[in-house]
C-alpha cells in the first residue's frame, strides 16, 4: 500500500519513458518513432511533476481571499513542465513535417529503408 502510494507515479512516469525508448529502439516506422518520443516526453513531464509533489499540498494558486499558511506543492517543476511540453510539441511538429517531406522523397517511412547516408 505504501509502496503504491510512494511509487505509483514514478512507476507510471518511468514506465512511459522506458516504453517510449523501446518504441524508438524496436519500431521501424518514423511515425511510430515520433509517437515513442511523445510518450517518452509525457513520461518525463510526469516525472518532473511527481518530484515536485508534496503530500497533502494544494495547487500553488492563491485564492482571492488570502490562503496564506496552506501547504502548496512545489511550483518550479510545474513551470518547467509547462516549458517542456511546448518544446516537446515544437520538436514533434518539426519531426512530422519532415516525415511528410521524407514520404514524398522515399515513398515510405520505414527507417530500415531510409538509409542512404551511412558509413
Amino acid at each position: 500500500m505504501t509502496f503504491l502510494n510512494e511509487y505509483a507515479f514514478y512507476i507510471g512516469a518511468f514506465g512511459l519513458i522506458l516504453i517510449g525508448l523501446l518504441t524508438i529502439l524496436l519500431r521501424h516506422h518514423l511515425i511510430k518513432l515520433i509517437i515513442g518520443l511523445s510518450i517518452m516526453e509525457t513520461g518525463i513531464n510526469l516525472f518532473l511533476i511527481a518530484i515536485g509533489y508534496i503530500s497533502r499540498g494544494t495547487a500553488p494558486i492563491f485564492p482571492v481571499d488570502g490562503g496564506a499558511g496552506t501547504v502548496m506543492v512545489d511550483p518550479v517543476p510545474q513551470a518547467l513542465v509547462l516549458t517542456a511540453i511546448v518544446i516537446g510539441v515544437a520538436v514533434l511538429a518539426m519531426a512530422l513535417g519532415m516525415a511528410i517531406r521524407l514520404h514524398g522523397h522515399y515513398g515510405t517511412l520505414d527507417m530500415r529503408r531510409i538509409k542512404e547516408l551511412k558509413w
Binding site: I44, L80, I87, A90, V91, A95, R101, H105, L117
Partner: protein
C-alpha cells in the same frame, strides 16, 4: 557598462521582426543576421575589460540567484559569445550570396536563432535555461539541415532530430533528478551543495546529462548523427554546426563536469573517451571519398581532441583546448565555406571530382588549403599553438596513461594530415576534369573566406593575444569555487 543580456535579447528581437520585414520588403532580411552578429561582436569587445576584472552576473528579472535565472558572463562565456559572433558574422556574410533559393527570410531567422541558442548556452548559469537554449539551437539546426529539402538533407535531419530529442530527453531527466536531489537549478547553487550529497547518487544524473549533452557535443558513441547532418546541410550551415554547435555542446559538457559536479575522478575516463572519439573520427574521415563527409568526420576528431585536452585538466591543456576551439571554428568554417563553392562549381561532393580546382578557383582552393593546414596543426597557422599547448600540457602533467593517450593523439594527427593533404593534392596537383558551372566565388563569399584566412594566419603568428584571454577563460572553467562565490 553595457548589459550582457543584450547579446541574447537584441538578436532575438531582430529575428522576431524578420517576418514583418519580409512582408514589407524581401531584400533586407538577409542583412539582419549580419547586423545582429555585428552588434554582438561590438558588444563582446566592449565587455572584455569588465569581464577580465571579474565575472559579470546578470540577474534576470532582478531576482537574486538561485531564485531567479542568472547569466554568468565570465571570460569563458564571453569568449564563446565573441567566437560565435565572429564566426556567425563571417558566415552570414558568406550566406548573403550562397543561399539563393528557398524561403530565404526563414533561413536568416533560423540562422540568427541558432546563434542565439548557442550564445545562450554559453552564457547561462541555470541548468534548465541551458536546456531551453539547447533546444533553440537544436530545433533551428534540424530545420536548417533540411533547408535544401533534398533527400539527403531530410534523411539526415530526421535522424538528427530523433537522436537529438532522445539526447535532450536524457538531459531533462538528468536535470529533473538533480532538482529532486538539490531542490535548485542554479549551477552555482548545485556546485555549492554537491559536496554534501552522497557521490554515488550523483553519478546517475551525471551520466544522464553527459549522455544527453554528449549527443550535441558528438562524443563517440553518441555522434552518429553528425556525419550525416553536417554533410547534407547547406555548406554555410555545416560551417556553423561544425564550428559552433558541437563546440557549444562540448562547452556544456565541460561546464557540467568542471563546475557543476566538480568531480575529478572521471577525468581519466573522459580523456580516454576523447581519444576514442578522435580515433574513430579520424579513421572514418580517412576512409571517406565524399569531401563534406570527410570534413564532418574530421569535426568528430577535433571534438575528441578538445575533449581530451579539457579532460587532462591542467591549466595549459585547457587553454590549449580552448585555443583549439577557436582554431576549429575558423578552420572548419573556412573548409566548409570553401568546400561549398568547390562543390557548387564541380557539381559533385566526390573528392575525385575536385581535381584541378586549384587552377579554376584559386582563391577558394587556397582557402581550403589554409584551412586544412591549420586543422592539421602546421605552423604558422592557428592550429599549431593549440596543438602545441595540448601536447605540452599533457606531457607536463605526466602519468603513463596520459602520455600514451598523447601519443595516440599525435598518431591521429598523422592520419588527419594524410587525408587532408590528399585533398590538397587533388585540388592542385591532379589533372582537372572539365565540367560543372563556370562561376567563381562571389565577392561576399570571397570576403568571408579572406577574413577567415587572415584570422587563422594572425592567430598562428601571434597567439599571445588570444592566449592571455584564454588563460583566464581556462581558470574560469576550472575554478568552480570562484564561480560559486561570484554568483551567490
Amino acid at each position: 557598462m553595457v548589459n550582457p543580456v543584450l547579446l541574447l535579447a537584441v538578436p532575438m528581437g531582430l529575428a522576431f521582426t524578420v517576418p514583418v520585414i519580409e512582408r514589407i520588403t524581401g531584400r533586407v532580411s538577409r542583412w539582419v543576421p549580419v547586423a545582429a552578429m555585428l552588434f554582438n561582436l561590438v558588444l563582446c569587445v566592449r565587455l572584455i575589460p569588465a569581464v577580465l576584472e571579474g565575472p559579470v552576473i546578470v540577474q534576470l528579472g532582478g531576482f537574486v540567484p538561485p531564485f531567479g535565472i542568472n547569466l554568468y558572463v565570465g571570460p569563458l562565456g564571453l569568449f564563446f559569445a565573441g567566437l560565435i559572433a565572429l564566426a556567425g558574422l563571417v558566415i552570414s556574410v558568406y550566406s548573403l550570396t550562397y543561399i539563393r533559393t528557398g524561403p530565404l527570410a526563414r533561413y536568416h531567422m533560423l540562422y540568427i536563432l541558432l546563434l542565439v541558442g548557442a550564445t545562450g548556452v554559453a552564457l547561462t548559469g541555470d541548468l534548465f535555461n541551458l536546456f531551453v537554449f539547447f533546444e533553440i539551437l537544436c530545433i533551428s539546426s534540424y530545420a536548417l539541415v533540411a533547408y535544401n529539402g533534398d533527400r539527403a538533407g531530410l534523411e539526415s535531419s530526421v535522424k538528427y532530430l530523433i537522436q537529438g530529442s532522445v539526447g535532450s530527453s536524457m538531459l531533462l531527466v538528468g536535470i529533473g533528478m538533480l532538482y529532486g536531489i538539490f531542490g535548485t537549478l542554479n549551477m552555482a547553487d548545485i556546485a555549492r551543495s554537491v559536496g554534501m550529497v552522497d557521490q554515488g547518487v550523483l553519478f546517475v544524473p551525471l551520466i544522464f546529462m553527459l549522455g544527453g549533452l554528449g549527443v550535441e557535443a558528438a562524443i563517440f558513441p553518441m555522434n552518429a548523427w553528425l556525419p550525416d547532418a553536417h554533410s547534407s546541410a547547406p555548406s554555410s550551415i555545416s560551417a556553423v554546426l561544425s564550428g559552433i554547435a558541437i563546440e557549444v555542446g562540448l562547452y556544456a559538457v565541460a561546464r557540467m563536469v568542471f563546475t557543476v559536479f566538480g568531480i575529478s575522478d572521471l577525468f581519466l575516463f573522459l580523456a580516454f573517451l576523447g581519444v576514442l572519439t578522435l580515433l574513430i573520427g579520424e579513421m572514418c574521415a580517412f576512409a571517406q571519398s565524399n569531401i563534406k563527409r570527410m570534413l564532418a568526420y574530421s569535426s568528430i576528431g577535433q571534438i575528441g581532441l578538445i575533449l581530451f585536452a579539457l579532460a587532462v585538466a591542467s591549466g595549459v591543456t585547457v587553454t590549449g583546448g580552448l585555443f583549439q576551439f577557436v582554431n576549429h571554428t575558423f578552420s572548419k568554417g573556412l573548409l566548409f565555406l570553401s568546400a561549398g563553392y568547390l562543390i557548387y562549381r564541380s557539381g559533385s561532393m566526390e573528392i575525385s571530382s575536385l581535381q584541378g580546382m586549384g587552377r579554376r578557383m584559386p582563391l577558394t582552393s587556397l582557402a581550403f588549403t589554409v584551412g586544412s593546414f591549420s586543422l592539421v596543426g602546421l605552423p604558422p597557422f592557428a592550429g599549431f599553438p593549440g596543438k602545441f599547448l595540448i601536447v605540452r600540457g599533457a606531457l607536463e602533467r605526466g602519468g603513463t596513461v596520459i602520455v600514451v593517450l598523447t601519443g595516440l593523439v599525435l598518431l591521429c594527427t598523422i592520419l588527419e594530415g594524410a587525408y587532408f593533404f590528399r585533398v590538397v593534392q587533388a585540388l592542385y596537383f591532379r589533372e582537372g576534369i572539365s565540367g560543372g558551372s563556370g562561376e567563381r566565388a562571389p565577392a561576399a563569399a570571397a570576403v568571408a573566406m579572406i577574413l577567415l584566412m587572415m584570422l587563422i594566419l594572425a592567430l598562428g603568428a601571434y597567439p599571445q593575444f588570444a592566449e592571455t584571454f584564454l588563460r583566464s577563460a581556462a581558470s574560469d572553467l576550472m575554478g568552480a569555487v570562484e564561480h560559486v562565490g561570484s554568483v551567490l
